[in-house]
């Protein structure tokens, strides 16, 4: 079997993975108690779940996904606004992940089913193109995602979109949520893994005041499995040494300063304001809203959005059992909830975390759930399955 690209070999080397797992174990032995660390990115969870990395972590180490899915934290009333706009006959353009995200009672997919002009787009540029093609009709871009995606929205806003185009921003700002989780008394997170792609824009320096204020180390990590494992080793180094520092474990992409032009564009268009994140709470400076200077592009200013008709604050039976909020705060895992994989599946999701491909529940479901597989069938890596396959099945017969 030919082995793909050199880069993949470099970042998917089982021998290196074993060495990193051993280094982690030494750190945890030295610390001598249970430690919880959190990452805040769906792409990290995908790598962790896809490659089964939790099976090689030390037993005393808990690796938790926090509020790292922008779709999941978009609040119900925010979806209601988009649904109401679609009901007003406005074209609503959205990323595909948001289509089935429930509002307080309805989703954009429901609105589409009722004849609403809802379009799935892959970039804001497609929404702008649609507006240019239909100058007599109003086109709203339902702008979702973290600061990385917000830069693309900002760039389009500054590029002079047509007059019939506007933006309904539900962009979120990750560093704000990290503050909230770090200050929570329930979670007891001792270290954070920060998302490498967001840090390409913000720079790793942005986490220094955070680390100092919360006395919590932060490691900026890439997305290959070895990136993730190496970043956890570094994080446990810092925890063991009691150093609340920021370490850049993704230097091939991330600098201390980040992309200055991207930051300028971002803050020229957006300002961070308090907002409610679904299932979590009000997050101070957690929402990216359009600045007053860009009111002419702000769908909330352009339209009288009346969400009363699409809003229903009384949760139905199933939703009451959904534990998405606790999952996003890092207080629970998907399989702690009664609905996971049963009443709540990707085809008919109950909670936001099963809707988005970045959601913890969706990722765990895709990759088989995550019961503890440590020790099953011998050690992980070729010494496990293949090694024993070569040496007949003595171990398996045990």
């Amino acid at each position: 079997m030919a082995k793909d690209l050199t880069s993949e070999l470099k970042f998917r080397d089982p021998a290196k993975a074993r060495a990193l797992a051993e280094a982690m174990q030494r750190n945890l032995d030295a610390i001598g108690r249970e430690v919880s660390v959190m990452h805040v990115c769906g792409s990290h969870e995908q790598a962790i779940a896809r490659f089964g990395l939790r099976a090689v972590l030390p037993a005393q180490l808990k690796l938790i996904m926090g509020p790292g899915c922008p779709v999941c934290v978009t609040d119900g009333p925010e979806v209601d606004e988009a649904v109401a706009l679609a009901g007003m006959g406005v074209h609503v353009c959205t990323y595909g992940d948001m289509l089935r995200l429930p509002g307080t009672s309805r989703s954009l997919a429901d609105a589409q089913g009722d004849g609403g002009k809802v379009h799935v787009v892959y970039s804001i540029d497609q929404a702008v193109d649609l507006a240019r093609a239909h100058p007599a009709e109003q086109v709203v871009f339902f702008a979702s995602g973290f600061e990385t995606t917000a830069v693309a929205t900002a760039a389009a806003a500054l590029a002079g979109p047509p007059a019939n185009f506007s933006i309904l921003s539900v962009h979120k700002y990750v560093p704000a949520a990290m503050d909230l989780v770090a200050e929570s008394k329930e979670t007891k997170i001792e270290g954070f893994i920060a998302a490498g792609h967001a840090a390409i824009i913000t720079g790793w320096g942005i986490f220094e005041p955070f680390a100092k204020k919360t006395n919590t180390p932060v490691v900026v990590a890439g997305f290959e499995p070895l990136d993730v494992l190496a970043s956890i080793v570094k994080l446990t180094d810092l925890i063991r040494e009691r150093k609340a520092e920021v370490f850049n474990a993704y230097p091939r992409c991330v600098t201390r300063e980040g992309s200055q032009p991207a930051q300028r564009v971002l803050w020229k268009v957006f300002e961070a304001r308090s907002g409610t994140w679904r299932g979590i709470a009000a997050v101070p400076k957690g929402n990216l809203d359009l600045r007053p200077e860009l009111a002419h592009l702000d769908a909330r200013k352009r339209f009288q959005i009346d969400t009363a008709s699409v809003r229903d604050d009384a949760a139905t039976g199933l939703e009451a059992e959904c534990i998405c909020g606790a999952i996003m705060m890092g207080l629970a895992s998907p399989n702690h909830g009664p609905l996971f994989g049963k009443a709540c599946v990707p085809e008919s999701p109950v909670g936001a975390c099963m809707v988005s491909s970045e959601g913890t529940c969706r990722i765990w479901h895709t990759y088989g759930g995550a019961p503890d597989l440590r020790g099953v069938g011998g050690p992980a890596g070729p010494a496990g399955a293949a090694g024993a396959a070569g040496a007949a099945g003595a171990e398996g017969a045990r």
């Binding site: 088989g368 992980a380 293949a386």
Partner: protein, 340 residues
Amino acid sequence: MEKPVQKIGLKHGSGGRAMRQLIEEVFLELASPVDGIGLAALDDGAALRIGDQWLVITTDSHVVHPLFFPGGDIGRISVSGTVNDLAMMGATEPLGLTCAVIIEDGFPRADLERVRDSMKAAALEAGAPFVTGDTKVVGRGECDGLFINTTGVGLTRRVVSDAGLRAGDLLIITGHIGDHGMAIMSKRHDLGLQGDLRSDVGPINGLIRAALAAGGDEVVAMKDPTRGGVAGSLHEMAAKGKVGILIDEQAVPVRDEVRAAGDMLGIDPLLVANEGKAVIGVRAAAAERVLAALRAHPLGRDAAIFARALAERPGAVILDTGLGKRLLAEPEGELLPRIC
């Protein structure tokens, strides 16, 4: 608990959990006790005792879209699918095949003859004679071009079920996985990769004969990983054999172009259909012998030992990625309808 669905969806034909549930809820009513393996076993086919031999019977309807795809067509699938199902139960020398066609009004005769020619060629490769058939034509829009059903019968002295695994057994895959499903998907989605992607569709009864000759009674379970892919087959084998199965992902043969298409579409080749492969469970002591016999056959050159059965976690399929371990989900949704 989930309530029974009131309308059949495409997922009920995808070879995964939803399909199994539908069959159990609706069609198991038809099962009655037989001397051998009957409907209740939900195996690749049935095996009925006749004297000191077993008559193996299997039937398969083919609705693949498009009818012609890189590496094959509906005619080749209709023969291979049935011949391979017979072989999976140990009957590697088919006695006869039936051919029932449902043709849509307006279907080009030239296409029908082209399909006939590939049925003829595949039947010749398999050594399987066509012995009877049926022809129906329906109105426009009442079927999509052409549907073909074939039934096959064969005799064997020893039936291999898909439930025979026990802890310690090793599993062999007879070659590269995912070729068929990825070729169809690439053609349908117009990925532009189709030049490199070809279906593996073809009869493999000769290959299986070689494996059985080498392994004898130590070949304990077989399954052809069609809809639901290797993952679906392993889930069935794990559940029926009451064992866990641990896959060594790095040992699974996957062509680079299949892996690339899978990455592009976000689809794991382990979940993708094959039409010319088998998963063979063997006692560990016979594994190298069976592997050598497979590799000596032109259709088995890339065969590999890729998994083993465990006493732990009965019913679970575990993937060792080389970097860690996780459960391999059972295919359930409509990954791609009308794959065969």
